[in-house]
Amino acid sequence: MKSKIKSLSFLIIFFVPAFIFSQSHTVEGVITDATNGETIIGASVIIEGTAKGSISDYNGYYKIDVSGYKNPVLKFSYLGYNDYKVKVDGKNRIDVKLEIKSEQLSEVVITALGIKKDKKALNYAIQEVKSKDLEQSKQENIVNSLNGKIAGVMVTNSSGTPGASSQILIRGANSVSDAVNNQPLFVVDGIPIDNSASFNGGNRAMDINSNDIESVTVLKGPTAAALYGLEAANGAIIITTKSGKSGVTNINFSTSLAAEDAVRLPSRQQSYKQGYRGIYDPESRSSWGPLFTPNDTIYDNIGDFLKTGLKQKYDLSVSTGSEKANVYISSNYLTQEGIFPGEDYSRYGILLKGSAKLNDRITMNLSSNLIRSHNRRGGLGRMYNVYNWPLNNNMSEYYYPNGEKKWLIPREEGKEWNNPENPYWRAENNPINDYVNHTLTMGSISYDITSHWKAVYRLGTDITNQFYKSIISPGSAGSLESYQGKITEKDRSFRKTNSTMMLTYNSKIFNDIEISALVGNDIKDEEGKLTIIYGKKYRNPDLNNINNLEDIKAVQYLTRKRLVGVFADLKFDYKSIVFLGLTGRNDWSSTLPKSNNSFFYPSVSLGVDLSRLLPSDNILSYAKIRGNWAQVGKDAPPQRLTAVLEPAYTIGGGFNYDYYAGNPNLKPETTESWEVGTDLRFFKGKTRLDFTYYNMRSIDQIIQSRISPASGWIILVFNSGSIQNKGIEFIFKQKLIENKNLTWDISSNISRNVSKLKELPSFVSKYPVTYGQLLNEARPSSVLGYPLMAIEGTHYLRNENGDLVVNENGYPRIGTYLTDSEGNYVYDKDGMRKIDAQSVYLGNREPDYIIGITNDLSYKGLSLSFMFDIRVGGDVLNLTKAFMLSRGTDGSLEEHRNQSMVFNGVIETGDGQFEKNEERVILNQTFYNSYYLHAGENFVEDASWTRLRYITLSYNLPQSISKKLNIKNLNFSVTGRNLFLFTKYSGGDPETNYYGSGLGGTGTAGLDYFNVPATRAIEFTLKSSF
């Protein structure tokens, strides 16, 4: 219809002047890209100052009639290119080369569903990291590469074990339950993939080779991800892999070699030997013995145990392409030795990508990424015995000369298992071997129906086959069962298939408004199977095979989940001044009750480029303000609606109820968010400031809560509770120096997220993390009214003046004074106040500020790049220290043990009266074990840190030399990772996660319990391209 009006107006304009000027004048030509000569389809050609225009076709060819116009000037424009104007001057043929817009003013980013958009047109917070930024940090786990690069993102690496998982949270966590995921969706080349972590191993996104990644776009809030549906309720990480480019053939080879050791260790006392209550006791596991005498040997058990780990990586890739097709093939091999004996990680990967234009309108893409990895590691908390081993005993001597195992504590034969396990022996004999076969396959077809309409279909599948084997060799310590040997094998297969169909429409209406519309359909299908075989009691002590065990049991878990969604996206762009966006999506999920399994959620966004309304000047070149509001949902964990039975392994067998009560009335969780922000650019883009404020509320939390067992069950899944997350993100980029030889760029990200658990079911005031309950007195948890990623525990008793209250012997007391509903203290019959010993909120594991500052300098062929990663605030629960104290090994005992002190506090005398404490106490084993260790607050530490995350110096061989060697490019670089860590934290590296990233809810990030220490490294890399 509109084109009819256009044609009509063409005719009128044509005919009228035709009577005046009898000549007709047409201009035609081809429009190409100035850099690579490719033709540009759909470029617009306008007679300047008029509404008359045309568009280039599939061959880049345009034709426009300029008859009747006096001195016509043609203006050519296309997204991502600078406009080009030329006077017609009577010519009939004008071929045009368009220049790509410089990066300073425009960025094409990949948004949801793989659609490329100019960032200026987007009204939500979105940030991109390019491959060169990813490469500098030399992190093998893609999640770790994002650390400090994106505002609003909190990354926590689990430990220094090679192949360890890493957790990523965007704008905090918005679900409190263990069973609900808080991490963003990972999408690779348009297909959502699985990023779970099984068996305390690595997360699946780390299987992707960093060197294959072209760019990573982070979509932060629900608006940005509203089109992905409920999997992206926590944001989305869009990964685009490299592709071949037409006309360019490249062979790239690179190799890296790195050495790493522990960056920081907890301090351990070196003065006291094995024993109990000050007396040497060779049967004790503790080091509460007497002081070492000058004649004693003090073994360096920890130093001798940890070693330097080596890493090697090899990458070979070939990319080539023509106008019709392009291909990218890459292979990589990574092998990494850990600092903990017996640990290593190796990975092989092949990525095959091809894209072909079947004809002018149809393009096909196919890609297949095959990865195979193997990780050998120990069990959780394996540093426990390393740190606690008495120093009077040589831990490295764990065999007698005759080959028999040497134990710390002499026991009678057959009972030796009542002993701490020697870490060397354990590393040698009780490994966990974790094998992953991961295949990501994707195919897509795009069909340009007309110049306005386009259809895309994508089908992808992510298949993981994982095999885990944990061996507890006969002769192990711990229990009779360990002593007899055990093997656990877990066989996991998981498939995630995604099919997306999209139809897009782009056009201009009313001349000034560009409209792009999209409708689509998503179908997701997931299937998982986990088979566990566990056996006990070895027959032959040397055969580590399940067949060799007497007592074998197997169990299997099957899950299935399916989702169907339809979605639509509408965007309006008025003269590139005002941008309006609307989305709507409806999902149907198999995990919700059939009667109520559908839910709809919309979003709306608005942006205004103020700089277009103001006169252009050299100072403010761009000023956009934006705001948006969105809703997104999360569904329930699968198979949770009805209570099931599980087999009983007691005598007689049979079935009994397992933990979960059913709930036939489950609803989806909903998050509602709004966001405002501004993107300002100064001095022709040399200075960039981007500021965002967001506020999100998540309600109908799908709580998988423990309930009173008096209900008959242990856990119930139901909806209740709400969480708020609000915060700011600030991005600052500055080109400090830019001249022919020297450039210096600074880029910094600052973010702050404040969360609050606003509501919980009436009978729940706390929500502890199930896998973090290692110590009664303090644990990771969520507490009503406080930040979500909390620590909850016990504390010393204090009165209303803030004085520490001690007992009549001078020892501190634990708890809070009990108050009634009016806030009055409650007294017992002796006039003493009653105590509430319940645990309370102690700290917040989420930092107050996360700051990342990256500097990039280059001088001729040299470049230097370094990043400071600063966290302000954020607490870590240091249970490593708690358990070391209980064993008498913590470093603080050097100074404090056997000192006497008078606690600065008061004694309760009754009826609300207190007197000053004068009682002297000795800080001995009784003090630590009976008093200090019972206040969990003693182990909550501020984990603020300043860290030099990486520093990389690289040198590019000058073209003159590399040409002589027949190489396109040769680059040497050396990187230092984690070389400098400044923190007041008393333990090892405060960036730690006890259980790994595989947990839902707030997880165990910020729980320090005997993980393998984080590492620092030096890495040398050689990159060449042919």
């Binding site: 005598i651 009173s708 069950w713």
Partner: protein, 500 residues
């Protein structure tokens, strides 16, 4: 345009077939229900674990055993404010009762009244042992999926227990084995499906429950005696025979030297870090420590001396001297109840005799009391492995009276104390009699109790456990506050309605 229509049509069709596509939420691993023969065995097996759990807690309160460290929060200091978990709670509701209820539902569907009766007896038995530990607890609103059921009064629960037992007795007496599903030793490891024995067991539990009400709530010894005698008419001990198991962690007696701890919510025994208390060894077993003379022939069968032949004890809360090691103390393993394959004793013949002895004595019939006492001692000694001659020698010796006129209540209760070694029922006895120094001469509180126990009041004893701190304090806090049980040390001092 036509393309658009086709597209929309396809979309609509696919949405309609959506329903079927999404119907995949059924659990593929596990069934939702089953027939009662598959549902009964775990109820009985979990009851055995529960009996262990009760004994493992209570036998330290009654000072049959004491820890060698003296440091144990719960056992030595009666400090439950820091307790992480009280497993008996969840064992009763989730492991036993909801499954017993499921047996009843499943049995009612097919009219297998034998299964229904047996399941209800187990439910009543577990409710009794649990309420004797906790007092008021959810009953009428329990087991319905209600996440925070209200707590009923203990007195009401007791009347409900009696009702359950009476109904079960009637059900079983009227069971038609022809129409009921078969119950063999495969499903019923205790009695092999013999309903008459279950009826006797129900009478025995009734006798125990009614005895608990004496002497403080009522003095109705007649019914106690009637029920106990009814049980004895056709009595086989109700025991759980671990020798029939496969030796795996879940299928051995947790009292055994393997210290089995099948899963995170089980507790392994600490007998290797415990020893008989002074009260047990010297006052109850009457061991002459000066001249090393063994008075009670059960003593060497309950504990093995050290390699010097000595029997050492500890005082609760004091711990062993630093100069001694664990091996200096008696080995408590491999007695008739502490071997890996020892049976778990639900209810023994000797307990019935002791119930009779106490009831007869309190109602003035010392002759029948004396006979019952002698029978009880004899039964227990046989079970422990004492020879006939030693039994006779003991009965004629100095420890027990030789005629009914010399009989005291203390004689009965002390002998019951020795006979019910490591069983929770003794704690009920002690509380019924207020830990009296007359009944239990020489019994003193542990040395280093937590600060909220009055050090100057020797009659302030532990009367109950707090509700499971891991769940009730968090998930049912309002009910705890209503009862005054929330983080309140005085709650532990509050006697049961049947205690002194």
């Amino acid at each position: 345009m036509i393309k658009k229509i086709i597209f929309l049509a396809v979309l609509l069709v696919s949405i309609a077939s959506c329903e079927k596509f999404l119907d995949v939420n059924e659990d593929l691993d596990s069934p939702y229900t089953s027939t009662p023969n598959f549902l009964l065995p775990p109820v009985i097996a979990n009851m055995a674990t529960s009996i262990y759990d009760h004994g493992e807690t209570d036998s330290y309160f009654t000072q049959q055993v004491a820890t060698l460290s003296g440091y144990h929060y719960e056992k030595d200091r009666w400090d439950y404010l820091k307790a992480h978990r009280i497993p008996q709670w969840r064992r009763h509701y989730h492991n036993i009762s909801i499954n017993a209820k499921h047996v009843v539902q499943s049995a009612e569907r097919e009219n297998s009244t034998n299964y229904k009766g047996v399941a209800n007896i187990m439910y009543a038995f577990s409710t009794l042992t649990t309420t004797d530990m906790f007092g008021d607890m959810p009953f009428s609103e329990a087991l319905t999926g209600n996440p925070a059921p209200k707590y009923d009064e203990q007195e009401f629960i007791y009347s409900e227990i009696i009702k359950l037992l009476d109904d079960a007795i009637v059900t079983l007496e009227n069971s038609d084995l022809v129409t009921c599903r078969k119950m063999t030793s495969k499903e019923d490891i205790v009695y092999g499906g013999d309903l008459k024995k279950w009826i006797s067991f129900a009478h025995a539990i009734k006798a125990r429950a009614l005895l608990h009400l004496t002497p403080n709530v009522n003095q109705n010894y007649t019914d106690v005696i009637a029920e106990a005698n009814k049980a004895l008419e056709n009595w086989t001990d109700a025991i759980f025979n671990y020798a029939l198991g496969d030796g795996s962690a879940l299928q051995i007696n947790q009292w055994g030297p393997s210290k089995s701890r099948p899963d995170w919510d089980y507790r392994s025994n600490i007998l290797d870090k415990s020893a008989p208390s002074h009260f047990m060894l010297i006052e109850a077993l009457k061991y002459d420590e000066e001249d090393s003379i063994i008075t009670d022939p059960r003593q060497p069968l309950l504990m093995k001396p050290n390699n010097k032949g000595e029997f050492l004890y500890v005082y609760p809360g004091e711990g062993k001297s630093a100069t001694l090691s664990e091996t200096d103390f008696p080995d408590l393993y491999n007695s008739y109840v502490t071997a890996d394959l020892s049976p778990m004793l639900f209810f023994t013949r000797e307990e019935l005799y002791f119930i009779l002895a106490e009831a007869y004595f309190q109602s003035g019939n010392s002759n029948d009391a004396f006979t019952a006492l002698t029978n009880g001692i004899r039964e227990n000694m046989i079970r422990a492995g004492v020879s006939d001659s030693e039994i006779t020698a003991f009965l004629n010796g100095q420890t027990v009276p030789h005629q009914s006129s010399d009989l005291t209540l203390s004689d009965i209760m002390i002998q019951k104390y020795v006979a019910l070694w490591l069983q929770g029922e003794i704690w009920v006895d002690m509380r019924r009699y207020g830990y009296s120094d007359q009944i239990y001469p020489g019994l003193k509180r542990p040395k280093r109790l937590a600060y909220y126990w009055d050090a100057d009041n020797p009659s302030e004893w532990i009367q109950r456990l707090p509700y499971d701190t891991e769940t009730e304090e968090i998930y049912n806090k309002p009910e705890l506050e209503r009862l005054g049980a929330y983080q309140n040390p005085d709650w532990l001092k509050t006697p049961m309605f049947w205690a002194k």
